[in-house]
């Protein structure tokens, strides 16, 4: 699975993030106060204006701090009843209709049908739920203001903060119930949709090997189903094995053995997984033997992976920390997804050979435990046993890094290397190779003029298998976070804007959030074709992204305007929540567990970091409206 923006662990992330948040919140609060004072002074004069502003600010703080949970609950219940009255259940109906016709659009014969189905249901749910949240939140308050039903609420002893929070909570409850229903329906849709079996016809099986006790082992293929078939082998005792194809295999049971064998093939296995990965930190060893942050670029336009040269000392090195003996008592389950780049075809019947080595970062002992045949775009699993008795080579080496200030640094220092450590016939994984929980895994390409490519998440330790069902529902938690953010923005915008305008503003916030990566790159001038004004010129003149614009006044003016616009884009990209961060579809589709730390905890706290100021802003906007006074 590709993880372009890995999240740091909570302990690593929280202190700096909390400080940043407090700083930004403080700056915004002061800015809002100053602005409020300015507006008030202009309206009422210096003394009265300042007094009014400070009084409003103080009463606002009181409003937020002294909210009554009972009143919030009542207003939330009001919001729920309003949503039911607006027939939100139709959204669920629409979702079911989409699923019914989804078969027209989903290719069950795809090489990864589970991934396709999972991506589809998560995406479809995201769009529907966010649309629901948008319409519910953006139109609710303005509709109440227009119909004057808001008067029945504000004339009661209700704080504006309770109104805002009540709406947010109420719509969240409605959205959560719908999301829960959709997730259950989606689960059955996916599992039924890709579920299949195969027939095995005895007449299509051929003898494979010598007969044992008069029974002949057989091999052949299953019948085709969903655009594929599997190779199978049945031994003399009738025990069958079905080979993996399209990312899954089947259990096979021999129901009759002898002259006319018959078999029953079960459902697909291995399609729905939730691997718990432990990722390491990646660095590379160049062909000169020096440690570097990135490997070679073989001409790929995507810089996610870099490459190591085969037949040299070059290696991709992952450093794992906090490894516990109790977690891996049987051995180390290593899984990897290495890309292969050939500079010449060579023997195409076989994959390019590589080796996996384990190294102790403290002593420098390195043991080459496995030579493997690579296969790109397919995860390769290697179990390194606790007691390593079979290995290709053992040595003691230092890693070498060049630094501008300290020159060449060796780790461990070369004079401290003890070569006797390598002169043994057996190694213990934890006693010899893991040092204070740290271990290095080295991947090398063994064939000259061929290359292996890797990104940091391309090698992981398969620590455990979590429950797919729980992981599936964790995927929906990401959608829930997005929904809550949209509701918060919608309700806040609706406190001072009319319904349609609030909707547009919320849509703008969503678009900005979904494309925050792109906006950040645009603001850093890292996108081909220049900024917004330069892009307008290119569109009108039908020029492509690569050619330079003609130098002149127009180009200069556009580029200067772009500098200003880029600053604005940077601000927008950073004040809007990055919605893509809350999207766990890939995790579920690729079969990786969405680990609590950091993938649930950090995004949840990030969402909260946006929710709090948005809520506070909503409270103040509503408070300052006449209808609420």
């Amino acid at each position: 699975m590709v993880i372009e923006n890995p999240l740091p662990h909570f302990a690593e992330w929280f202190p700096a993030a909390a400080v940043s948040w407090l700083l930004v919140a403080g700056v915004l609060t002061v800015a809002a106060l100053v602005l409020g004072c300015l507006v008030s002074v202009l309206r009422y004069g210096p003394g009265a204006g300042l007094g009014a502003a400070l009084a409003t600010a103080f009463s606002g703080v009181v409003d937020v701090v002294c909210m009554s949970p009972r009143r919030v609950a009542a207003l939330a219940w009001l919001a729920v009843k309003e949503s039911i009255r607006r027939r939100v259940i139709l959204v669920f109906g629409l979702f079911v209709v989409i699923l019914l016709f989804a078969g027209w659009f989903l290719d069950v014969g795809s090489s990864e049908p589970a991934k396709l189905y999972l991506s589809f249901v998560l995406t479809a749910t995201t769009y529907l739920v966010l649309l629901l949240a948008l319409f519910l939140s953006a139109f609710s308050l303005p509709a109440d203001v227009k119909s004057r039903t808001i008067q029945t609420v504000v004339t009661k002893p209700v704080r504006p903060s309770e109104i805002v929070l009540g709406r947010m909570v109420g719509f969240t409850i409605v959205g959560t119930v719908l999301l829960a229903l959709m997730s259950v329906v989606s689960y059955f849709f996916v599992t039924r949709g890709v579920g299949h079996t195969h027939e095995v016809l005895a007449e299509n099986l051929k003898p494979a090997g010598a007969a044992v006790n008069g029974r002949q082992p057989l091999s052949g293929t299953t019948e085709s189903s969903q655009g594929h078939r599997h190779k199978l082998y049945v031994d003399a005792s009738g025990k069958g094995v079905v080979e993996s194809e399209f990312g899954h295999w089947h259990e096979i049971e021999t129901t009759a053995w002898g002259d006319k064998p018959s078999f029953e093939v079960g459902g697909p296995e291995g399609m729905f997984q939730a691997r718990v990965p432990i990722y390491g930190k990646l660095r590379f060893r160049s062909r000169e033997g020096t440690d570097v942050d990135r490997g070679i670029n073989v001409g790929d336009e995507w810089f996610y992976r870099s490459f190591i040269q085969g037949g040299s000392v070059a290696a991709a090195i992952w450093t794992f920390s906090n490894l516990r003996e109790s977690q891996f008592s049987e051995g180390l389950p290593v899984e990897m997804n290495i890309e292969v780049f050939r500079t010449y075809k060579g023997n195409i019947e076989k994959g390019v050979l590589g080796s996996l080595s384990l190294r102790n970062p403290r002593t420098g002992l390195i043991v080459e435990v496995k030579v493997f045949e690579s296969k790109d775009f397919t995860p390769l699993f290697i179990m390194v046993p606790r007691k390593i008795t079979e290995f290709s080579s053992a040595d003691v080496i230092s890693s070498k890094r060049e630094t501008p200030d300290k020159g060449v640094e060796f780790s461990p220092p070369q004079n401290l290397l003890d070569r006797r450590l390598a002169e043994r016939k057996e190694f213990d994984l934890f006693n010899d190779l893991v040092a204070d929980g740290e271990l290095e895994i080295w991947i090398r390409c063994l064939e000259p003029s061929q290359y292996f490519g890797a990104g940091q998440p391309d090698l992981w330790l398969h620590a455990a298998d979590a429950s797919f069902e729980l992981n599936f529902f964790k995927g929906y938690f990401g959608i829930w976070l997005q929904m809550v953010l949209v509701i918060a923005f919608g309700v806040t915008f609706s406190t001072f804007l009319s319904g349609p305008v609030a909707m547009l503003a919320t849509v703008g916030a969503m678009i900005g959030g979904f494309f925050s990566d792109f906006l950040t790159r645009l603001s850093q001038h890292a996108v081909l074709g220049g900024g917004p004004f330069e892009a307008i010129i290119r569109l009108v003149r039908q020029e492509n992204l690569m050619t330079e614009l003609e130098p002149g006044l127009r180009t200069t003016a556009a580029q200067m305007a772009d500098r200003v616009a880029e600053a604005g884009l940077w601000v927008i990209a950073h004040i809007l929540p990055p919605f893509t961060e809350f999207n766990y579809a890939d995790w579920v589709a690729y079969g990786f567990d969405i680990t609590w730390d950091p993938w649930i905890v950090v995004p949840t706290l990030r969402a909260l970091a946006f929710l709090v100021p948005v809520f506070v802003a909503g409270c103040f906007f509503l408070k300052t409206r006449e209808v609420a006074q």
């Binding site: 590709v2 016709f101 027209w104 659009f105 989903l106 290719d107 795809s110 090489s111 990864e112 991934k115 396709l116 991506s119 085709s224 655009g227 594929h228 078939r229 336009e301 995507w302 996610y304 890309e339 292969v340 050939r342 075809k345 195409i348 019947e349 994959g351 390019v352 690579s374 296969k375 790109d376 775009f377």
Partner: protein, 522 residues
Amino acid sequence: MSPQHAFARKIFYLIGLVLLVAVLSWLGQPTVGEGSAEGKEGAASGLGLPNLAQLRVRYKLSEAQLGEIDPAGSTIKLATLGLRGVAANILWEKANNYKMKKDWTNLSATLQQITRLEPHFISVWRFQAWNLSYNVSAEFDDYRERYRWVIRGIDFLREGIRRNEREPMLVWDVGWYITHKIGTADEVKQFRRLFKEDDETFQRWEDYRPAADRDNWLVGKDWFWRSEKLVDQGADLRKTTPVLFFSHRPMSQMNYSEAIEKDGIFGEKAKESWKKAGDEWFEFGARAIPATEKDRYIHLNDAEQFDREAADRVAKLEAFEPGLREKIRKERYEKLPAAKRKAYETPPEKRTRDDWEKAQEVAEQLIVTHDQLARQISGPNRQTAIKLAREAAEFEKKSEENRLYRQIVNFEFWRERARYEQTPEAIFAREYAYKGAEALANADLIKAREMYEQCFAKWRQLFDRKDFAQLKNDDSLGQEIVGIIYKYRQVLEKSDKPFPKDFVLNDILELHEKNWRAREGK
């Protein structure tokens, strides 16, 4: 606003609506009936103008006439609420992104959505099929996966054909991918084997030919034939060069013949195959190929006939006054300045650049055209001479034009190739070369030497035939034989035997070894 104003405004709107509906209903009314005269002539409107439905029928533009109707596609088009172009652009951008990030599952799914939105935009099908079969397949290291993606691209094209049944280029593309992507890839051996064994794919294509007949060249040839049939029925070739388009079917037979010999199949089967290739090449030469000018056609076989017609007329023309052409040339030469004559007389290897320019000018000035010759003839034969000159010039021009078209498809080379490859000498020569290479790979030097020597003997027999007197000048064949001689040399070196001075194909080495070495970098 007063009630009268509001009422007047409503009446005004009503009249506008009625007028618009009337125009729309006239435009959109269905055809009178397919078989009726009005239906065919489009006079149902009563004004002599066809309505939209009739135009649709006349130009075969309705959905049902373009191809199979896809309910999913229609649904997705409706769902975009008029933003079909925007949606297609977004999907295309996403597809590029998935391809960059090597997310093949999502790439395939996105391409399917794009084609659902724009099923009749032929370039989408062609471009993305190419993307799948050529670009995406190359990303995989395992040749089996590469083959799967080649087939996926072909399946993508076949889907396009279902939606656009009268589009010959999509059909032609299928033929191309099956013949060339499978038959000329680096992993050609593996691809051809996988293709023959691919029961799944043939079942999906509803092609039930036995496995032995599943040669990719022959299967692709059938697709080229289908595309030709569509063009013969009036389908548009768009910007494709017709001579290239029609050449691929017979070329597939040529390539098949070559392929089976590379696979070690010779004898009668190879002979029949080359004969069939020659016959089909002749049929291709007899086909009327549209020329660049409208309503003009070329038959590639005709060049020799034009040459004969021209030569015949020239002979008759020169018979009126034998030697007149030479006399005119001599007179012109004597009138030339001395410097130019000197440049012209300088041997080519000693000419300077200025000499070359002058010599070229002299050569052009010394050309006596048939018309110039005819006008020098006096007496009663003059008019006949002028007529003969004009006709000879026309035939020469036709021949030249014909040969230009021939060059596009290397017509003469392949015609000659089919002719000599079907001879027993050539078939045996290739068989011995194959066995020699096999023996060399198995380190059986004695057998390898024997086979190679028999191979060379057969080529000698062929070159010595009067009907193949010019064959040894064929650069392609010559270099191929030099390559085999090179392997023979290796066998002799390994056997400690010298290369014979009286080697049976010394003339071939003289003619072609230098070029071969330059090409091979040896």
